[in-house]
């Protein structure tokens, strides 16, 4: 490009400020783009607009109170956040969770994965100009949110998974809506594919865009669909199984093209795999059985017992005033969230409040690779690349 004469001198490149308020950043993300014509020369992400100090707040709460904060990080995956935190605290305590609760947990987080992928697909498509996909995706997401409301009383900030088990028993008649969803969903996924997979505009906007090699993706600590689309079959559900995932039969889809189109195909394939897992969990969940571990002093006693037994009342009072104290030590647990490896590090000093809670948020670390994806590409591809790594800014900034 020829240098341009401006009032302050000659300039070869220009700096464009994208965000913080930009619809395709799906939150409040600012990217400083240095442009040479339409080509991105350099990109500097600037974040922190949604930083609320969740990790600091955790240090001032009892272990059970932290759960409500975890909902608010990745608001498309509240159940997964609940799960990773509870798994970490359970590991610190050495608690064994009943199988029935584990299966319900699996079913819920897989439903959550589908709903998160649906939001991703809808918004990613709308960013690239495919309006109708968004409406179809949100139609099915609504069905999942209705199931969550049935189970937990909440559509989004569920706080359903608790330390040692679950907040509530599944409600009467829960099988019917889940069964209906399982019957309906495969044909709906086909519907999205008919809209996009062979769509020439979609292919034109995503194929060959945002390439990253497997070596670079590993070196940059990327995880989740972005890493698997580069050909690395790294999925925590298979590699480090948690919550009885080893008993489930499913595949880890991988692709090798490592572009936006491959990531799209991969996430669609993941939705189908999730449906398989939900079906298996649905069959494994028994109608009767415990949903909480047997650990007095840590798990709040049943309401009925609290009203009739002295001991239960004392435990109830102690748990909700003082909390419980895990032995000193640390635990680090990772799970596969829809966005990648979600980790939780909890350190205890033997007091009822955690010494340190840290979340390894996949969005934050995957976002780090954004300059690598877009430098040298066209400015229109920036939108496709932000969409394809599937960030949730609430989790990036915490």
């Amino acid at each position: 490009m020829t240098p341009v004469e401006t009032a302050i001198g000659t300039a070869k490149t220009m700096v464009l400020n994208m965000g913080p308020q930009h619809p395709s950043t799906h939150g409040v993300l600012r990217i400083l783009l240095e442009l040479d014509g339409e080509t991105v020369v350099k990109a500097i992400p600037d974040l922190g607009y949604l930083h609320t100090g969740i990790e600091k707040s955790c240090e001032d709460k009892t272990y059970s109170q932290v759960i409500t904060l975890t909902d608010r990080m990745d608001y498309l995956n509240p159940l997964g956040n609940n799960l990773v935190y509870c798994l970490a605290v359970e590991k610190l305590l050495g608690l064994e969770v009943p199988k029935r609760a584990q299966y319900i947990r699996v079913m819920m987080v897989e439903l959550q994965r589908i709903s998160s992928h649906l939001v991703w697909l809808g918004t990613h498509a709308i960013d690239l100009g495919a309006m109708s996909v968004f409406l179809y995706c949100f139609r099915e997401r609504e069905e999942i949110l209705k199931i969550f409301e049935l189970f937990t009383g909440q559509r989004m900030m569920t706080s359903y998974i608790r330390i040692g088990g679950l907040a509530l028993d599944p409600p009467a008649g829960w099988r019917q809506p889940v069964e209906r969803f399982l019957k309906m969903m495969p044909s709906r996924v086909d519907e999205y594919e008919t809209l996009l997979t062979e769509n020439r505009i979609w292919i034109g906007r995503t194929k060959g865009v945002g390439y990253i090699s497997a070596e670079d993706a590993i070196a940059l600590s990327m995880s989740g669909p972005t890493l698997r689309a580069a050909g690395v079959a790294y999925d925590n559900r298979k590699v480090f199984p948690y919550s009885s995932y080893e008993e489930f039969n499913f595949n880890v889809p991988t692709r090798t093209e490592s572009d936006c189109y491959a990531r799209y195909l991969l996430r669609v394939a993941e939705m189908r795999e999730s449906l398989k897992i939900i079906r298996q969990a649905f069959d494994k969940i028994k109608d009767e059985g415990p949903i909480k571990a047997d650990a007095p002093g840590i798990i709040p006693p049943q309401r009925e017992k609290m009203k009739t037994e002295m001991e239960a009342l004392i435990y109830h009072f102690k748990i909700f005033t003082e909390g419980f104290s895990p032995p000193p030590g640390e635990a680090f647990v990772t799970i596969e969230s829809p966005r990648g490896e979600l980790g939780c590090f909890v350190a205890s000093d033997g007091s009822p409040k955690p010494l340190r809670v840290h979340f390894r948020s996949p969005s934050y670390i995957n976002l780090q690779a954004l300059p690598k994806l877009i430098e040298g590409q066209l400015i229109a591809d920036v939108i496709a690349c932000i969409g394809t790594i599937d960030i949730v800014l609430g989790e990036v900034d915490r």
Partner: protein
């Protein structure tokens, strides 16, 4: 706190010791997680060895975080969580840093992915990483006072009004 060392802990400790007898200061096992305490001077070399060695292959840095154990000295505990994707094993490398000189070697030359993780620790704990290419605050505004995740920083902050930085203070005064 004492659990017998796992098979993987023995492999890692032995491999590191045979490479450099000073690399492993302590090995501990808790709830099935292996922690290897590394002397501060040897952090980068040990991390590089963990990544390169054919027996270890810790190619993926999943997380880096800090714990402030104030008033105990050394107060800062840096934890690096490594994953070996081919071997399907995890390990935690730990470095202790004193409160009056919280400096550690940056691991960005080993894993570029350490960049933002270290910036986050710098931002919230005030630990400096020598050799880091771009050590700036990341989550907080650049003119924020103090390091919020230190234990001596009050949960509600230092002042009644939120610290919104120089820009806001100037524009809000009449």
């Amino acid at each position: 706190m004492t659990e017998p060392a796992s098979k993987n802990a023995n492999v890692v400790a032995e491999c590191l010791r045979s490479w450099n007898s000073k690399a492993v200061a302590e090995v501990s096992e808790y709830r099935g997680e292996t922690t290897i305490v590394v002397p501060r001077e040897l952090l980068r070399a040990t991390a590089e060895h963990c990544r390169q060695d054919a027996k270890l292959q810790y190619n993926f840095l999943t997380d880096a975080t800090c714990v402030d154990r104030s008033p105990v000295e050394p107060r800062f505990e840096l934890n690096y969580h490594l994953v070996s994707i081919p071997r399907r094993e995890k390990v935690r490398l730990r470095v202790w840093l004193g409160g009056n000189d919280p400096v550690a070697d940056s691991l960005v030359p080993v894993w570029p992915g350490a960049n933002w993780l270290e910036r986050e620790i710098f931002d919230l704990f005030g630990i400096r990483f020598s050799g880091h290419p771009d050590l700036r605050r990341i989550l907080l505004p650049e003119d924020w006072e103090g390091y919020p995740l230190r234990r001596d920083y009050p949960v509600e902050g230092y002042r009644d009004v939120p610290n919104t930085g120089e820009l806001f203070r100037k524009s809000s005064t009449p």
